[in-house]
């Protein structure tokens, strides 16, 4: 048992390292973060729904880019390794095929977790950065007795400082990765991928020190020195998306034991579409019908897409998140079992 755990950790760690080395992983994360942060800048129809649009866009980026990342990672970590022979080199050691499949899935989940942290932080920043109606007394400038431009124009305000910091964070992460590669010969892909995620988390942490107008809170004694002003209701919704991504990672891992990346992506996209539209096409269908059977086989992705629940101040209950986690893990177990069965008799050359 101890050896199996050691093997799982070793293979999963190597999978994470190899996957984040791929330029595609960094590009997907950077594209996801930038898309999320730029939505508040380029949205034109507001109707006081700017925060919601930023939030929904961020979660959509998380789901779509995450799905592509899960599939490409499974493709490189499982299908390509089987083709290259690296998988044979591992299975030639005292590693069971079940251990191999489960370790690969855990490794892919590790990559997705880093991706999720980056996009989740970017979504929080985008929501904060988008136009919000702000009262003058929320402007935390040095002297409360003095009126400044922001105090004189109460109304919809965009937090340009936070958005700028978030976007610059991506550039800074790339620069830092390049410097680490040049001076310390560290892997650029790993540094850049992790760096982008960390940069967004850092900005999310730092934004509590200044107001929406960019004034430092500590300069104003009558307000709290640290107030992130982030919409934490996004967290459970983002967690649900993470569960969906883990589910797709399991599906992609299982399929990649037999199929190359292209068909795996096609099947996963189909599962996403059917999973989101399950209610529509399976409405009123009997369990014995093909529609009922399909609805039973395809995981219901609607359980994990709860953006609308956050509208008008709504919240997602944590017990619901826990139930969704159980559902996602059950689906993962099912897919991984199918993957292990498919991989059991696969010839490795």
């Amino acid at each position: 048992m101890k050896r199996t755990i050691q093997q799982i950790i070793a293979i999963a760690k190597a999978t994470v390292l190899e996957s984040v080395q791929q330029p595609i992983a960094f590009l997907i994360l950077a594209a996801g973060v930038l898309s999320t942060l730029l939505v508040p800048v380029f949205q034109f129809h507001r109707f006081s729904e700017d925060g919601r649009l930023a939030r929904d866009s961020g979660l959509s980026c998380m789901l779509v880019f995450g799905l592509v990342l899960a599939v490409t990672t499974a493709g490189s970590a499982v299908a390509a390794e089987i083709t290259r022979g690296t998988a044979a080199a591992i299975i030639g050691k005292p590693v069971s095929r079940v251990t191999f499949v489960v370790s690969k899935w855990l490794g892919i989940c590790g990559v997705l977790l880093i991706f999720w942290l980056g996009i989740c932080a970017a979504t929080l920043l985008a929501e904060r950065g988008s136009y919000h109606f702000v009262m003058p007394d929320e402007c935390a400038h040095e002297d409360p007795g003095v009126t400044c431009a922001c105090c004189e124009s109460p109304g919809h305000q965009m937090d340009t400082v936070t958005l700028t910091l978030g976007i610059c964070g991506v550039g800074a992460a790339m620069l830092l990765a390049a410097l680490r590669h040049y001076f310390k010969r560290r892997r650029f892909g790993v540094s850049a991928f992790v760096g982008v995620a960390v940069s967004q988390l850092c900005v999310a942490g730092l934004c509590g020190f200044y107001s929406r107008f960019g004034n430092l809170r500590m300069m104003r004694p009558d307000t709290a020195a640290y107030l992130p002003d982030l919409d934490w209701r996004i967290l459970p919704a983002a967690l649900l998306v993470l569960f969906a991504l883990m589910l797709f990672a399991a599906l992609a891992t299982a399929l990649a034991t037999r199929l190359p990346t292209g068909p795996v992506l096609a099947v996963c996209v189909l599962a996403l579409v059917l999973g989101l539209a399950g209610d529509s096409f399976a409405a009123g269908a009997g369990l014995a019908s093909w529609r009922g059977l399909l609805a039973g086989l395809v995981p219901d992705i609607q359980h994990f897409w709860m953006c609308d629940a956050l509208a008008h101040g709504g919240r997602i209950a944590w017990p619901y998140v826990a139930e969704a986690a159980v559902y996602a893990l059950s689906c993962c177990a099912l897919f991984l079992t199918a993957g292990c069965l498919a991989f059991r008799l696969r010839d490795l050359g």
Binding site: A10, A88, K93, D347, G349
Partner: protein
């Protein structure tokens, strides 16, 4: 009571099939093979003869279409069996982004080795294969020969009882080839069973006690290499420091007894031996320190 053979195959067949399960190629046909404990066994054959396919079935990577395989008396898929095997594939399938040190640590972890022991073993193996200077460079940038050395090191990481080497000298320079052959000798003396494939016959002749020759998936010949190569009705004398006149006298005497002309020539050293002399590298001095790689 006799020990059972370490590797035993009976009527082993492997047919590769296409997507529709139609047979594409019969890679191995009705193979019966026995490898005893402690011997160095060579599996020979031209390209596509089924050598690598056979090795992969012995490792549980390929599933036989029919027949039986037993390694250490068990099915090759058994992880406890694989824990006792070191395997060097034909092409060193290494993670390109890992350094040799990380690669060996990774494989040590797969064998469940404790970290401290793995660090020590990694250092010893890197020194053995002459890669200490490149221990922290990504394997993806290595030449074929250097990657081969990493592959050889990973095959020894668990101090195996059975070493399976698929074309072990492929991609190595003559000095590297000599070192590998010396290593095989030393491991054999230490009781490790070695099964190797090669189409470089000189390599096999240098190290193997028994060989099997495969062609088009069929076992054509097998047995001790001396028995297979010996020409029973020919005797060769080698004499050093004999003058031309004395040689002619001896030749005349032998021709008289044999009743037909006798062939006389001057023995040549192998090109490998000549090369090693020229580059002033004495192979025995470079012999690997094998003790660290054996089980305590």
């Amino acid at each position: 009571m006799m020990n059972p053979p370490l590797i035993e195959t009976q009527s082993l067949c492997k047919t590769f099939r296409d997507f529709w399960r139609r047979p594409v190629v019969e890679a191995v046909k009705d193979l019966g093979l026995c490898v005893e404990r402690g011997e160095v066994f060579g599996l020979l054959g031209p390209n596509g003869s089924g050598k690598s396919t056979t090795l992969k079935m012995l490792l549980g990577l390929l599933h036989p279409s029919s027949g039986n395989v037993r390694v250490f008396g068990k099915a090759p898929q058994d992880v406890m069996v694989k824990a006792r095997i070191g395997y060097l594939p034909e092409v060193s399938h290494l993670h390109a982004f890992l350094t040799p040190r990380e690669t060996l640590m990774y494989y040590a972890a797969l064998f469940g080795m404790p970290r401290q022991g793995a660090v020590r073993r990694t250092g010893e193996l890197l020194e053995m294969v002459g890669l200490t200077h490149a221990a922290d460079r990504a394997v993806g940038r290595f030449s074929k020969g250097m990657a081969r050395r990493v592959g050889l090191a990973q095959a020894l990481v668990n101090a195996p009882d059975l070493l399976i080497l698929d074309e072990p000298t492929s991609g190595l320079d003559p000095i590297g080839c000599r070192e590998v052959k010396d290593l095989i000798h030393l491991l054999s003396q230490a009781g490790v069973t070695v099964l190797m494939t090669s189409h470089l016959l000189a390599d096999v002749e240098d190290v193997c006690a028994r060989v099997a020759i495969m062609d088009k998936g069929v076992l054509r010949a097998h047995g001790p290499i001396r028995d297979l190569l010996r020409t029973p009705d020919v005797i060769r004398f080698s004499v050093q420091g004999l003058s031309e006149g004395d040689a002619a006298s001896v030749r005349a005497i032998i021709e008289k007894h044999a009743g037909h002309p006798v062939q006389q020539d001057y023995p040549e050293m192998s090109l490998e031996a000549y090369f090693l002399n020229v580059v002033n590298r004495d192979a025995p001095q470079k012999a690997f320190e094998v003790a660290p790689f054996l089980k305590p």
